[in-house]
Each structure stands twice: as structure tokens, then as C-alpha cells.
Symmetry: C5
Subunit: 261 residues, 5 copies
């Protein structure tokens, strides 16, 4: 099968800059005066040599400049509604391609009462994406009343596996907390690439780099990161540090040297 993820990989590894938090969490929760501006993010992506950038359709249409490979997230929801989570397709694969995307992203809320809707939509999206030459990346997030702990090793491995079975070229999943248990998730994903979901800003740079190192030690393909980069006061140094670990296979110590004193 064609490796649809290759536009986003350097030596089979990738570091993706995620920026759909404006829709998912709202600007007041995650953005400041700088990060609210997509141009600031594009600048980080370009200067930081990210291997991909993730936008919702609207941001891509108004801001994308073609310099970093594009993933359009084609579903999404706000954090406002109560009840079982559901996000449905808001952009066609064809439209995403026309905007320059080489991949589409789609969230599956595994375990939600609406899981079947998202598994079905993703099935159609994946087929259409491959037909048009795009990768289909699944954000697989176990969530809803049935999910007690969305980062337990068992549930993260389940997410990874569901992504593989659903035909994802790559899955974006939470970190389990240690490389031993994350390795099982990577194995469960088979030949689907595994990207850790960056999550909220970590307490220290080292703490975050340690997670990322764990992912790579476990056989992961990289990271989709947002807040830990663009909420950072030195985002390009954080990007450099992350690339040491992800693309160059370096240690945390080496990575930390990329931060100026």
C-alpha cells in the first residue's frame, strides 16, 4: 500500500504543529495575543521546520501559505455541549485537497454513544482520501460516560488498534505515562504511524521532553503538538529540542541544550 504519510515524515518520523484549539477549546482558554493569530503559528511552523501543520478548513483558507505540509482537520466540536461527544465532518476531502492538504484528520470519540457515526464517517473519508492521494489520520480519543480513564494503557492501546482497524494511516493518541505501556499501544497500531497528542502545557520543558522521548523509545513515529510549542515563550527552541528527540534520536539532555539560558 502507498505510504500516504510520507509527505509528513523525515526518516519515518514527524513533528506536526496542531492548531485547531480555537474550535476545540476556545480562544480564551488556550490563546494569548500572539497565539490567537494563525500567522504567528505559521511562522513557528516554518521557522521551526515542522513536518506538518494542522488547521481547520477556515484557518487554512484564510492563512495557509503552502510552506509546511498541510493536514486539514475535517471534523471538530466545541467544548461547550454536554452529553456524549460527537464531531461530524465539516469539510469534504476534495475541498481539503483543493486547499493544499496532503492529509485529512478526523476525531473518533471511541466509546461515545455516537461512536458508530464517527466510525462510519471515517470509513468513507479514508476511502475517499486514499482515492485522492491523501493520508487519513485518526485522532482516536476514548471519551464519554463509558470511559473512566482516557489515558490508561489499555484504553490507549484500544484507541491505537481501532485506528489501525479503521484504516488510519496514522493515529494520534494520548501518552500512557511510560514507554513500556506505550510500546503496547504502538504494537497495537501495527503499521499505522503513532503520534502522541501533545496535550496541555506541561509543567516543565523536561517533563514534556520526557514524554516525547518515551513515545519514541516505544517505537512511536512522532508528535502532534500545539500548546507546548506555541504557548511556550521560546517556541522555536522547544521545536528544536523536540526535533533532537524525534528526528535525530537524541537524548533529553541533548535536547535541553537547545534552550538558551
Amino acid at each position: 500500500m502507498k505510504d500516504f504519510m510520507s509527505p509528513f515524515l523525515t526518516n519515518e518520523k514527524g513533528i506536526l504543529l496542531a492548531y485547531d484549539q480555537g474550535l476545540e477549546h476556545g480562544p480564551s482558554k488556550d490563546f494569548n495575543e500572539k497565539s490567537v493569530d494563525p500567522k504567528y503559528i505559521l511562522e513557528i511552523a516554518e521557522k521551526g521546520k515542522f513536518t506538518g501543520i494542522i488547521f481547520q478548513k477556515g484557518v487554512a483558507e484564510k492563512y495557509y501559505d503552502g510552506k509546511v505540509p498541510l493536514i486539514i482537520k475535517i471534523n471538530g466540536k466545541t467544548s461547550l455541549p454536554k452529553g456524549e461527544p460527537l464531531a461530524t465532518q465539516n469539510c469534504s476531502v476534495r475541498h481539503a485537497k483543493a486547499l493544499g492538504a496532503q492529509a485529512v484528520g478526523y476525531t473518533i470519540y471511541l466509546g461515545s454513544a455516537h461512536e458508530h457515526i464517527m466510525l462510519q464517517e471515517f470509513g468513507q473519508i479514508q476511502a475517499e482520501a486514499h482515492e485522492l492521494g491523501l493520508a487519513a489520520i485518526a485522532w482516536v480519543y476514548p471519551r464519554g460516560e463509558a470511559i473512566a480513564n482516557d489515558s490508561s494503557p489499555e484504553i490507549v492501546a484500544y484507541a491505537a488498534r481501532a485506528g489501525l482497524e479503521a484504516g488510519a494511516d496514522a493515529v494520534k493518541i494520548k501518552y500512557t505515562g511510560d514507554p513500556q505501556t506505550f510500546r503496547w499501544a504502538v504494537k497495537s497500531a501495527g503499521t499505522a504511524k503513532v503520534f502522541m497528542s501533545g496535550g496541555p502545557k506541561a509543567p516543565t520543558d523536561e517533563a514534556f521532553l520526557k514524554q516525547v522521548k518515551g513515545v519514541m523509545d516505544a517505537g512511536g513515529s512522532g508528535l502532534a503538538v500545539g500548546r507546548n510549542v506555541w504557548q511556550h515563550d521560546r517556541p522555536l527552541e522547544m521545536a528544536a529540542a523536540l526535533k533532537e528527540i524525534i528526528l535525530n534520536g537524541q537524548t533529553i539532555e541533548t535536547a535541553l541544550k537547545r534552550f538558551s539560558k
Copy 2:
């Protein structure tokens, strides 16, 4: 990207006359013997040199005379049903274009349990609108059980941002109460134009003009106004006053001079 909003803007600003309250609120709540008649509204729009007029399909078909640029609102609901708000598409984009519209409007009830239906429909509508050369304007109204205060700065900024991410050319949102917090909403909307939703008749002309001034000071693109104009006993003077602020960048004091004694 093409600026689909240009037909509705003068020096990048706009003042739109909204008239879908007959469906949204009912004639007995908002109309009197004069304002119940769409011809009265068209006359105000034309004489008042509004940069756009907003009708539901039915009113456009029976009354629109081509003199003021047309926005057709292609979803809508009455104020009658209880439960989580939902308004679905009642007019195709193609049909709206055939009626002379240069833009379509669509309400997204952010935070509603049915949010996903409206985000999905708007996604399709926006793509079709752009294909046909029309602007897609999102009325983004956080509403439903999950929304405590639909005009808090955070929720209004969230609405603005959701509109940007969803691909809206312009968003219609509530005023937050002051220009400082509204500025954040405008920033959150990025390059999407921001129009304040006029809302119910303000207690005094000055009070309303102060809101509008706040919007413009915050970087907004203008106003979509209904009741504060056509419920006014001197609608053309109110229109003139609004244009002083919106199109000419004048002060409230200057604007108030447009009212005869």
C-alpha cells in the same frame, strides 16, 4: 482568497439591515403595522443606503427588488420549541443565488446538543457558496442548556473563533458590553469580518450608538441591525447616525446630530 464580502462593504465596513425576525420571534413580538410590511423595510434599506439586507427566502422571493445587496438567511427557527436549539437549512445556496443573493447567512447555535448538525451543514454550505461566488456568513450564537451567559467575553470570543475555523467570511455575534473585551473577539475571528448583532431595541439612541462605537473601536467591520432601526420612529435618522460611526468613523456626538430635534 477572494473577498466574498466586498459587495456588502464600503471602505471595508458594512451596515446590514436584518429582517428575519418574523420567523425567529414572530410578528406580534417585533412588528407593528408598518414594520410588518417588507416593503417598508426595503424602503428603509434603500433610502438609508444600507450596504446589505437580510431576508429569509420567502420574503426575498415575494419582495426583493434588487436595489440593496441581498443576503438570504438559509436556516431559521421559531422561538416556540423548547429544548436544545436547532435550525436546519431551508433554502439551497443555488436557490439563494437565483434570487439575487450575494451571500447566504446561517445560524450556528454553538454549545447546543445539536451543534454538530449545524457545523456540518455550514461546512457544506460554505463550500457551495464559495463555488458559486457567494459569501457565507455565520450567525454564531452560543445557546442551550450548556450556555450560562451568551454575551460573556469568553463565549463571544469563542463564537467569533468558531466562525473563523468553520470558514465563515463574516460572523455575526453579540456585543460583549465594552470595546476592550470585544477586541478579543475580533482578534479571535482573525480575518473574518465581525458584525455586531443589533439585538432588541436599546433604551436610548445614545446607548445603542455607544455599543456600535465600541464595536468599531474594537476593530469590528460593522453591524447587522433590525429592531433598532425599523422599530425606531425615525429609522432613516438612526441609519444616518449609524453610518457616521460605522462608515465614516465619527464620534457618538457627531452621530447624534443626525437626529432632528
Copy 3:
């Protein structure tokens, strides 16, 4: 805009014979041995010179003889289900046209929790009807848990207005009880024609004629009547009386003379 209602009007007024009560209320509630037979109704329609007749598809297919202009009601429900009212499309506009219809009718239960489904379906039906040259008539009935009184002046005016905004060529609404308040409903409907819904058999002929006179005095376009005609023991005399008022603009006294002693 083309006047799609013209096939059903004489001097801009109309009297329509409604006969979908078999589906809506059941035969045992509304029919007797004579009125249960569609041929009896067709005979009344023809001899009584009604300006239109209203059938569901099934009755039209098996009985319609082309002598009176036909309206096919393309949604409907029984009176049996509990819960929020919903009736969905059961006949395509194309099919209705093939059966000889020059208009389609569709009920919108305004205020129902399913209102959005009916507003959406009607939107599509109206567009298709006009494309094929048929009128789209909306039965606008506020109903459901949210509706306290479905014939209050406010709610009837709301129904009329919703029909206009939705693009109906004509609306069929309840009578408010007096011409003063009904006039407001007629104004709210704008240039959409307003037909009073005949309702259950009135206690006396005069009582019914008084309602109809009120409608016409208020500017209404006529009446869609079923039970007050075909449950009448002298249906043709009732038809003649109604036409005096509706088509000839006569008084109740003149109309009453059409009844033999």
C-alpha cells in the same frame, strides 16, 4: 414572481374542498356512509364549483377525475401517535404533478420539537414545486407541548408569518375568533394568500358563515373546508352560501338565503 395560486382563485379568492381527514383523523371520527366515499366528495366539489380539491396521493390516484383543480397534500400523519407532532413527505412533487396536481400542500407543525425537519422539507418542496410550476401551500399549525393555545391571535399570526418567510404561496391557518385579530395574521402573511382552516363542524351554519365572513373582512383569500361541507346534510347549499361570502363578497344574510327551508 409567478402567481402559482391562480389556478385555484376566482377574482383572487378561493374555496378549497379538503379531504385528507381519513388519514389525519380516521374514518370513524369524521366520515359517515356517504362521506367515506371519495366519489361523493368529488361530486360535491364539482357541483359546488369549488376552486380546488385537496387529496392525499392515494385518493388522488384512485379517484381524481380532473374536473376540479387538484392540490395533493404531500405529508400527513394519523392522530394516533403521542409525543411531538411530525409529518414527513410521502409523495414527491413530481409524482403529484404527474397525478394532475397544480399545487402541493404540506403541514408544518410550528413549535413542535421536530419543527426543523418540516421547515427543511418544506424548503425543498417549495423550490421543487416552483420549478415544476406548482404552488406550494403550507398548512401551518402550531402544535406540541410548547403551544398553549393554537388559535390565539399571536400564535395564528406567527403561523401566517412563518408561512410567508418559508416561501409558501398560500397558508392555511386557524381562525382567531374575530376579524380584527385575524387581520393582523393576514398582514403578517404579506402577499402570501391566507386560507382559513375550516375545522370541525360548527354548531350552526350561521356560526360558520360568520367565521368565514370574518376571514374575508380581514383580507383573507378564502377557505379550505371539509367537514363543514361534506358533513352537512345539504353540502351544495352550504357551498353556495360560502361562495356568496368568499367569491361574491356578500353578507351573511344573503348567504343564508342559499339554504332551502
Copy 4:
């Protein structure tokens, strides 16, 4: 209108052998070692000279031999789910035709909270059936929380009428218990043919024949029977007895003579 039912009628009367109980009730409830086999049923249908046979798609595909006119039932449900009844289309009309069917059957659970889905589907099915030259037969079964007694004269007449209004060529309804009340149901069905639904095995042959005689005396077109034939130890004699009454207009006494001692 073309008489789509003619393939199933002899002198305007018909006797149909129903065999979808495997899906509707389950094999353990209704079948024995013989009747579980569709070949046994086909043999009865052929030797008993039934005027039609009713199968679900799966049985038709694997067993139908073209000897008796075929009706494919194109919706169905098991008796297992609780809640308001709903059966949706499981076979296209085109597919049914390709399998040799000259009619399609469809159950409408009148009064169910899902009534609108079935009325809508039947509307589409009926149109497509007639276009392809097939009859559309409605099983109209009032059922669900709203239905207190599904064989009261009023409710059975309502079912018959709903079938007519929906465009059914024939309706399959329950017996009301006596010919006087059933006559009203037949009248309510207008020119749609009325078939009694055979129901569970009657206590005695005479009891069942009496019901059938009542149907015919009331003006019915015949019977759709399953269990009272293929659960009978002498099914061909029962078939012969039924045909005496249905096709030959004979008395119960004459019919009973078809049973050997």
C-alpha cells in the same frame, strides 16, 4: 389507474400464502420440522393453488421457483426489540422485481412513534413499484404505546383508510370480529383491496372459516394466511375450504366439506 393487483386475483378475489413469520416471530414460535422448510410452503402454495405467496427477500432468492405469483415483503422486524415498533426497507423494489415479484409488501405500524418513517418510506416504495409495474401492498398494523386495542372496529377502519390514502393497492388488516364492523373498514379502504390478516392458528377450522366468511360478506377481497394453513395438519384441505369461501362464494358448511373425515 392500472390494476396492479390483478396477478394475484381470480375473479377479483385472492388467497395469499404468507411466510415471513420466521423473521417476524422466530422459527421456534411458529414452525415445526415441516413448516420450517420453505419448500414445504411452496408445495402447499402450488398444490393449494394460492393466488400469491409472500416471502422475505432471502427466502425468495434461495427458494422461489416461479410457480405461484410472488409478493416480496420489503420490510420486517423481529419480535425481540422493546419500544415503539419500526421496520424499515430491507430490499429495493428493483431487487424484488428482479427476483420475480409482481408486488411488494410493506408494514406500516400506524400509531407508532416512528409512524412518519414508515409512511414516508411507503410513499417512495409505492411510487417506485408502480413505475416498475408492481403492486404495493400495505400491511397496516396499529401498534405501539398509543394503541389500546389493535382490532377494534375504529382502529381497523383507520388502518384500512390510511392504506388507501397512502396509495396502497391493497391493505392487509386484522379482522374486527364481525362482518358488520369489518364492512366499515372495507368501505374506508375505498377501491384498495382488503385482505384479512390470518393471524395465529384459530381454535377450530370452523372458527377460522367464519372469520373469512365475515371478511367476504363485508366486501373484502380475500385473505393473507400463514399459520392457519401451514400449521394445519391438512393444509391443502384447509386451502380448499378457504377457496370455497373466498373464490367461489360458498357457505361455511360447503367449505367444511372439503375436509376429509
Copy 5:
């Protein structure tokens, strides 16, 4: 009718290796370091000369090598959501064929409140499958609040029959516990092939072989087995033992000889 199952049968019997447990149950519940890898399963399938292998689309795309006839399971769900079970189509029949499949599998949760959705989808899938030359295999699993015991003889026979009526070429059902009662299920399935669903790892090899022998004695066509093979420490010997019983009609004793000491 064409025998669509023939690619999966040897002398009318078959043994299918099922491997969709990663989606249905999660990797942590059913897999170990070896069985988590689809290549390990493919190796067993090939060396064990299984007559078919069952994958979800994603696994087929990334791993299938064309050596063993392929069934793609085109719906599926995780074990996470609470509430009435529902799995909807996630892969088109056309797509399955393009991946090399000669059959598609689909689960119908009989008795679920969503039963009608699955009966409807399966109806469409079966028709499309046959048109494209593929078999349609129904996993018929009675499940949900309405089902007290999903392996009682009555409910298993109902499942088998529903599969036949729905048009399945083969059904995959649970074992009832003994050949006498399972024979009734086989009879109820008519000419549809009956495969026992392997279920969780049996306590002893003999216990499992006894179930399989019961299926074959009852007239079944074979087995779809996963965990009892690939969770076995000697999977090829288990496969050999199973083939003795299924394909060669041997006794349990003969089969047990295929296990090395």
C-alpha cells in the same frame, strides 16, 4: 442462485480464521505480543490452510497478502459504549472487493433497539455484494436489553432464521450447547450456510472440539474461529484438529491425535 460461498468451502465445509477482535474487544483483552501482529495471524491462516480469513478493512489494506480467501468485516464497534448495540457500515462493498475480498461480513444485533438500522444496511449490502459477485455473511448476534440469554436454542435459531430471511449466504451464530438444539438452528437457516462463532478460549481443547463436532453433527457448514486458534500455544495443531472434524468428518478422538504430546 449462484453459490457465493464456494470460494470459502472445501466439500461444502469451511473453517474461517476470525481476526477483528482488536476492534471488537480491544488488543489488551484478547491479544498477546504475538497475536497482536496480523502477520502472525496470516501465517497461521496460510500454514493452517484455513478456507478463509476475516479482517476489518484497515488490517486488510495493510497486511493482506492474497494467500487465503478474504472476508472483510464491513461493520464493527468497540466494546466500550453502553446502551443498545449498534455497528454501522464502515467500508463499501466495492472497496472490499478492491482489497481482494470475496465476501463481506456484517453484524446484525438482533433485538437491539437499533435492529432496523442493521437489517436495512445489510439488505443494501447483500444486494450490492451479489451484484459484484461477493458473498454476504451475517454475524447474527441477539443482544441488548431485550435479550436475556443469547445462546438459548430459541434465540440462536431465531438468529439463524433472520439471517436466511435477510438474504445472508451464510450466518455466523453462537453454539447452543448441544447438537440436538443446534440442528434446529441449522434447519431454521435453510440453505444458508451455518458457521459457529468460535467465542472465547475454551477451557480444554477437547471441550472446544466437542462443540465443533456438535455443529457438524447438526448439519453446520463449519466454524469461524479466532481466539481458540491464535490464543492457543499450538495454533497449527488446533487448526489440524479442527479440520479433521470439519473438513474430514472425523471423530474428536481422531482430531485430538493432531496434537503433539
